[in-house]
């Protein structure tokens, strides 16, 4: 394992070029556009309940597979379920399908927005759990050193060798078929999972496997930073271990770790979409671009928009996160360009 190339070289001090980095990021047109797109998806995700005309699960039996922007005459029953009724948006959302309707007559636009909510949530929660667990674990190992460090890192080495996708697949398949669990801790977990739209299990599966790389990296950084002069001098004036860790080491190692984590986000989104596509992602109550692609596949010839809309959305979001992550890395570390 010794020759895996570390993305962050640990032998250089972290330089603070915050203002320069910000200007550099602002000048990067692609990264700014990407950021705007991510913010747009995030706003839609947060305000999904108001920004969509229909609940994504609602189907209109009289309007199946309509192409985007087709106007249709809704029944009173359908009209009464429209959230935008009697608002200026009514003709736009309630009397036509912005992005068409699905095979069973669901509003694709509403589904896409809620699917985007899942993607954004996965990106957020997965990167935060990975950062928190990984940094906590890695810092403790790197700072303590000695046998504890050795033992902790052997466990990480073991976990690192496991193929992430296979582990996530295994965990999800376990949960997926525990939905009908009648008793015990599984039942409690399942209830919570249903309340969260099938996302809890997904978070556990993705979070369980992705902190390992972060732990390795933060351990390496802390281990290297421990021997630098500023830590020595802090120790010399009598700072406690906790103070050194929280006030001196962490602020210095956290920058590169956040950047690496940003670059990992497209992977999380991709993992969620793939698992959902396989039917092992969000539960039956959840909405995901992966499951939308899966559902659209059977009618790709007759209703191509049903599958193309989530495909394009998924591509754009992973592309945006990649551009933004690259831009961030270039801004902070211009050597890589």
């Amino acid at each position: 394992m010794a020759n895996r190339t570390d993305i962050v070289s640990s032998d250089e001090p972290v330089q603070r070029r915050r203002s320069g980095a910000l200007t550099s990021f602002r000048r990067n047109l692609a990264a700014m556009l990407a950021l705007v797109f991510i913010l747009l998806v995030a706003v839609l995700a947060v305000g999904a309940d108001w920004l969509t005309p229909y609940d994504p699960a609602i189907t209109h039996s009289a309007a199946r597979g309509l192409p985007p922007m087709t106007a249709y005459e809704p029944s009173d029953f359908d009209l009464n379920r429209c959230h935008w009724l009697e608002t200026p948006l009514e003709p736009l959302g309630c009397r036509r399908f912005l992005l068409g309707s699905g095979i069973s007559g669901a509003d694709i636009y509403s589904q896409t927005v809620y699917g985007g909510r899942t993607s954004i949530l996965v990106a957020l929660v997965a990167s935060l759990t990975s950062l928190t667990i990984g940094i906590a674990y890695g810092t403790v190992a790197g700072f303590t050193g000695g046998n504890t460090d050795e033992l902790m890192m052997r466990l990480v080495d073991f976990l690192y060798a496991l193929p992430v996708f296979m582990v996530a697949l295994g965990i999800q398949s376990f949960f997926q078929f525990s939905f009908m669990a009648q008793e015990g801790w599984l039942k409690i977990l399942t209830e919570w999972n249903n309340r969260l739209g099938g996302l809890l299990f997904l978070f556990i599966a993705i979070g369980a496997v992705n902190w390992v790389a972060m732990a390795r990296m933060s351990r390496a950084l802390v281990h290297a930073a421990k021997r630098t002069e500023y830590v020595e001098s802090a120790r010399a004036v009598g700072a406690s271990d906790g103070r050194i860790l929280m006030r001196h080491l962490l602020p210095n190692v956290i920058g590169p770790l956040v950047i690496v984590e940003t670059l990992a986000i497209p992977g999380y989104i991709f993992l969620e979409a793939t698992l959902s596509f396989l039917g092992l992602g969000v539960g039956p109550t959840g909405m995901s671009w992966g499951s939308m692609i899966n559902a659209g596949y059977s009618a790709i010839r007759s209703y191509p928009h049903v599958i193309l809309v989530p495909s394009i959305a998924l591509s754009l979001l992973t592309l945006a996160f990649n551009f933004a992550g690259d831009g961030l890395r270039d801004a902070v570390d211009p050597r890589q360009r």
């Binding site: 010794a2 020759n3 895996r4 190339t5 073991f158 060798a161 496991l162 193929p163 992430v164 996708f165 296979m166 582990v167 697949l169 295994g170 965990i171 398949s173 376990f174 997926q176 078929f177 525990s178 009908m180 669990a181 009648q182 599984l186 497209p266 991709f270 993992l271 979409a273 793939t274 596509f277 396989l278 039917g279 092992l280 992966g290 692609i293 659209g296 596949y297 790709i300 010839r301 191509p304 599958i307 193309l308 989530p310 495909s311 394009i312 998924l314 591509s315 992973t318 592309l319 996160f321 990649n322 551009f323 690259d326 890589q336």
Partner: protein
């Protein structure tokens, strides 16, 4: 070198054992087993279910089952199929694994065939329009998931244009020598879309890596020396820089293998290819205990061997590295 390879293989044994235990427990601790329903979905009578579980040894304590299973695997027996009579996991693997490997190797080959030249071109024409275009295409190629590429290719190249078939793999078992497809026109026509779908991401990844790595090498002192002594630029790039630039590319090739794995399962499902990945997903649904454990084990084996091969080639390309003493 030999001791290094042996040590690496030995060190991966606990990983395999851990993975085996992990998948074993995950699938066995689930509330419902393989014999809850008939093939038609009707509930199976209690005594029939118990008799079946007894026949396959599933009524024993878990630790005993696991012990037996490990011993069984050591002897090369991957276990029986539970819901299909007279079929073993070995037979399923023998017909489906070659297909998965054919798909993976062809996609890898396509990825290298496009990615390497593109990366070299971009690095040699650094900061010129060609470089920008190649870099942009590479970012897009890396970003777009397999899941999202496939619908476009199927819709436009298979359905609208009708150039390629929309599904199935063009070669069936028995394969030539047990794993090679017959490279007929029909086979290539069938293989085109799945291989392209999977290969786009690989080629983009390889191109990005090659470009970054070659740029770094072209900046080194020995390149300046080579240029200073009047070597032709092509000789400088291809003979001197490229060989060193390939080192990180090869090292990450093992990681690429890991990265295409989820994609290859998706591709197998989308194109209805009877590969191991598709069978794994179906086995999870139908609780084929032995097939699930075996295929996860096989996939992990491929990944570990891929990483090992990358390390060995790495050492071969870089004579400064000596395994065995310091590692």
């Amino acid at each position: 070198m030999k001791t290094y390879i042996a040590r690496r293989l030995l060190l991966s044994l606990p990983v395999f054992l851990g993975l085996l235990l992990f998948t074993f427990l995950l699938i066995r601790l689930q509330p419902n087993g393989p014999f809850e329903t008939t093939a038609g979905g009707n509930p199976l009578p209690e005594n029939t279910r118990m008799a079946l579980e007894r026949a396959y040894g599933l009524d024993r304590p878990l630790y005993e089952q696991f012990g037996r299973y490990v011993v069984q695997i050591m002897s090369g027996n991957l276990g029986p199929m539970l819901r299909t009579q007279f079929l073993t996991v070995n037979e399923v693997v023998a017909t489906t694994l070659p297909v998965t490997l054919q798909l993976g190797v062809m996609a890898m080959a396509l990825g290298l065939a496009i990615g390497l030249p593109a990366g070299v071109y971009a690095a040699v024409h650094h900061n010129q329009p060609g470089d920008y275009l190649a870099t942009l295409l590479a970012v897009i190629g890396v970003s777009i998931p397999t899941l999202a590429i496939a619908p476009f290719l199927v819709l436009f190249l298979a359905l609208r244009a009708d150039w390629f078939p929309i599904a199935f793999w063009g070669s069936q078992p028995p394969f030539v020598l047990g794993f090679l497809p017959d490279f007929s026109f029909e086979f290539l026509r069938h293989a085109a879309l799945p291989v392209i779908t999977l290969g786009i991401g690989i080629s983009a990844g390889v191109a990005r890596l090659t470009r970054a790595s070659l740029l770094e090498q072209l900046d080194q002192d020995y390149i300046r020396t080579a240029r200073a002594k009047g070597l032709v630029e092509s000789l400088v790039v291809y003979r001197h820089a490229l060989k060193n630039a390939m080192i990180p590319v090869v090292t990450t090739a093992g990681t690429l293998l890991v990265a295409i794995l989820p994609g290859s399962i998706v591709v197998e499902l989308i194109f209805a290819i009877n590969g191991l990945g598709r069978n794994l997903v179906q086995a999870i649904r139908s609780r084929e205990y032995f097939l699930v454990s075996s295929s996860i084990l096989i996939f992990s084996l491929i990944i570990v061997l891929g990483n090992l091969a990358a390390d060995v080639i790495y050492a071969w390309l870089n004579p400064r590295i000596h395994y065995g003493q310091s590692d």
